[in-house]
């Protein structure tokens, strides 16, 4: 990590005995306000944020105003080219591509935010515990991480997904019933959340553990320990703030990665349930006839690339804003 944050933390460590909790909170609020100001000055990041907000609003609101439903088939207009009636054309079943694209945006954004929140939470908690306590806690957590890590994550997700899909799809009884109903109401998204959450926290965990492993030997942590701070407080107040940069970089790659995994799953038919549109599903449907009707694949392909780019640029901007020394 960089010097400024480290110094700030050691100041805090030394001062924590003398300062009240309010004063400490004010200190950290100042840090975040500074970061926000720096982010506002980053045009690329703000443009990306703007794009994502517009996309989110369009995804939430537009289906209410669009003339065509995302699942209604216009059998007289299969593979129609873009026109006044269907702005982006129609797919192989004559469904309006613009409506499907925007409803697909709902799926992607939901998956990205919800799944990544689950992933980062699990990864940070596990990584801090393993890194700080070491010993058998570390051994236990890292053994599980190593075992799951040894699995190519996509393969594990595919296996878990085919299990969940079969479980939720078949004749369900007992405690699975409410879960299956929820999954059905969400168009198969619950399964995606579970599969991603169970399998994708490993990278964050390793990253946080590695950072804490090299941070916990530093003087400011030692001084906090000498002053009698409890492990929970040392992790929260001293170690995690210094790990925020790497965690944010991980989340930066994480949100778009979750979106990408959902699209990949839907691409091979293991993601959301049709007729729910997902960009991955739309692309795989478009691949069938890509030589004759490239417009079908074009819209979702551009949409997914732009959305992922937006999250990457925003994350980069956040990192630069939180880590002012990186930018001279």
């Amino acid at each position: 990590m960089n010097e400024r944050i480290t110094t700030e933390s050691s100041v805090r460590a030394r001062a924590s005995a003398a300062m009240s909790a309010d004063q400490l909170a004010a200190l950290s609020r100042g840090f975040w306000a500074d970061a926000w100001k720096r982010l506002l000055r980053n045009h690329v990041a703000m443009a990306s944020l703007g794009f994502l907000v517009v996309l989110a609003l369009a995804a939430i609101l537009a289906p209410l105003f669009l003339p065509h439903s995302y699942e209604r088939q216009d059998l007289l207009a299969l593979y129609a080219s873009p026109s006044g009636t269907h702005w982006l054309g129609t797919d192989h079943l004559g469904r309006d591509l613009l409506s499907r694209l925007l409803v697909g945006a709902r799926i992607s954004l939901t998956v990205g935010l919800v799944a990544e929140f689950i992933i980062i939470s699990i990864g940070t908690v596990m990584g801090s515990l393993a890194g700080y306590f070491g010993g058998w806690v570390d051994t236990l957590i890292m053994r599980v991480v190593d075992a799951l890590y040894a699995f190519p994550d996509l393969l594990l997700i595919i296996i878990v997904m085919s299990f969940l899909k079969a479980q939720f799809g078949g004749a369900v009884a007992g405690w699975l019933m409410p879960l299956a109903a929820l999954n059905k109401a969400l168009g198969g998204l619950l399964g995606v959340f579970i599969a991603l959450g169970l399998t994708s926290w490993l990278t964050t965990c390793r990253l946080v553990r590695g950072q804490i492993l090299s941070l916990r030997e530093r003087e400011f942590v030692e001084s906090a320990r000498v002053l009698g701070a409890r492990p929970g407080r040392i992790i929260r107040a001293h170690l995690l703030p210094n790990t925020l940069g790497p965690i944010l970089v991980a989340a930066t790659l994480g949100v778009p990665n979750a979106i990408l995994l959902e699209a990949s799953l839907s691409f091979i038919g293991l993601g959301v349930d049709p007729p729910m549109p997902s960009w991955g599903l739309m692309i795989s449907e478009g691949v069938q006839a890509v030589q004759s009707y490239p417009h079908v694949i074009l819209a979702p392909a551009i949409a997914i690339s732009l959305t992922l780019m937006g999250f990457h640029f925003l994350g980069d901007g956040l990192r630069d804003a939180l880590d002012p020394l990186l930018k001279r």
């Binding site: 040894a150 190519p152 393969l155 595919i158 990253l207 699209a263 691409f267 692309i283 640029f313």
Partner: protein, 309 residues
């Protein structure tokens, strides 16, 4: 250090057992079997019964669990259910070399090109080189491999007719360029980004300033002092990409028609060809675990401050 290596190698055993157990029970707990009736090919109950008996699928679950495990330990991964008369060992021998070649080549390209690009961008921070490279990197990360492969096939195969639209004729043919590029692009871009941000953190450290103050040339400062520490985060991440790539991206292989193990494996999952799934998974797991062990050892070698008690 030696004790650490021995301990890690021994630790592979329970880890492998855990993976075997997870896959075994998840696959068996999933409804549907290898001889489910499909509309076009009815399976008579007597025939299914005989098949089940032949492959010991009627045995108690614990017996199947132990039997397959003991076979695997003797290097016998069992028969394939889907391709009668072929063993999993033969299938792996057929399909894996292609995935391995393609994956290793993609990884070499990704690391060999990604790390230097990232370092150059960091050293020339905020120049047009930096901005240009990072824009390309973000585009690389943001484009799914199946989109890259499809678009390249349409452009180079359909419109320009430079390469056949699908198939495989060896790693050193023009045809291999599309799968190679599609597979390498994402890790390349990610490696470049990580290399850049980690070099940016290192390059302002006191010891780098000291190296400059001693009057060392910029190249020596970067190559001998900064690069070693800047490599640490890149190395930890490289293991992940290697795992991602070596297992053969199913998407790249299937879209470009490369007959590799990744594509075969996913077909096997939907066909519930248990022995193929299990054998392939165990093979990949062993490879990835060995890679991860090497990564961890490199980690300690690159940064002696990291302690393994």
């Amino acid at each position: 250090m030696r004790r650490y290596v021995v301990r890690r190698v021994l630790a592979l055993i329970p880890t492998l057992l855990l993976i075997y157990t997870i896959v075994f029970f998840l696959m068996r707990a999933t409804p549907g079997g290898p001889w489910d009736e499909t509309g076009s090919r009815p399976v008579f109950p007597e025939i299914r019964e005989n098949l089940m008996r032949k492959y010991h699928l009627n045995d108690p679950l614990w017996k199947q669990y132990v039997d397959y495990l003991s076979g695997a330990l003797h290097g016998d991964l069992g028969p394939s259910y889907r391709q009668r008369g072929r063993t999993v060992n033969e299938i792996i021998a057929d399909f894996f070399p292609i995935s391995l070649q393609l994956g290793l080549a993609a990884m070499v390209v990704a690391v060999g090109v990604g790390i230097p690009l990232g370092f150059v961008a960091a050293i020339r921070q905020d120049s047009w080189i930096d901005r240009g490279l990072m824009l390309l990197a973000v585009i690389g990360i943001s484009t799914p491999s199946f989109v890259v492969a499809t678009v390249m096939i349409v452009v180079f195969g359909v419109y320009l007719r430079w390469v056949p639209t699908s198939g495989w004729s060896g790693l050193f043919s023009r045809q291999a360029l599309i799968p190679l590029f599609a597979l390498a692009l994402w890790p390349l871009a990610a490696v470049a980004r990580y290399s850049r941000s980690s070099m940016l953190e290192v390059i302002r450290a006191d010891y780098v300033r000291t190296a400059r103050a001693k009057g060392l040339k910029e190249l020596a400062v970067v190559a001998r002092h900064a690069a070693r520490n800047a490599m640490i985060p890149v190395v930890t991440i490289t293991g992940v990409y290697l795992a991602f790539v070596v297992t053969g991206s199913f998407y790249v292989e299937s879209v470009t028609g490369v007959p590799g193990l990744g594509r075969y494996l996913v077909l096997s999952i939907s066909a519930r060809d248990y022995p193929v799934i299990m054998g392939t998974t165990l093979l990949l797991a062993v490879i990835v675990m060995i890679v991860n062990l090497i990564v961890d050892l490199t980690y300690a070698f690159l940064d002696p401050r990291i302690r393994y008690e």
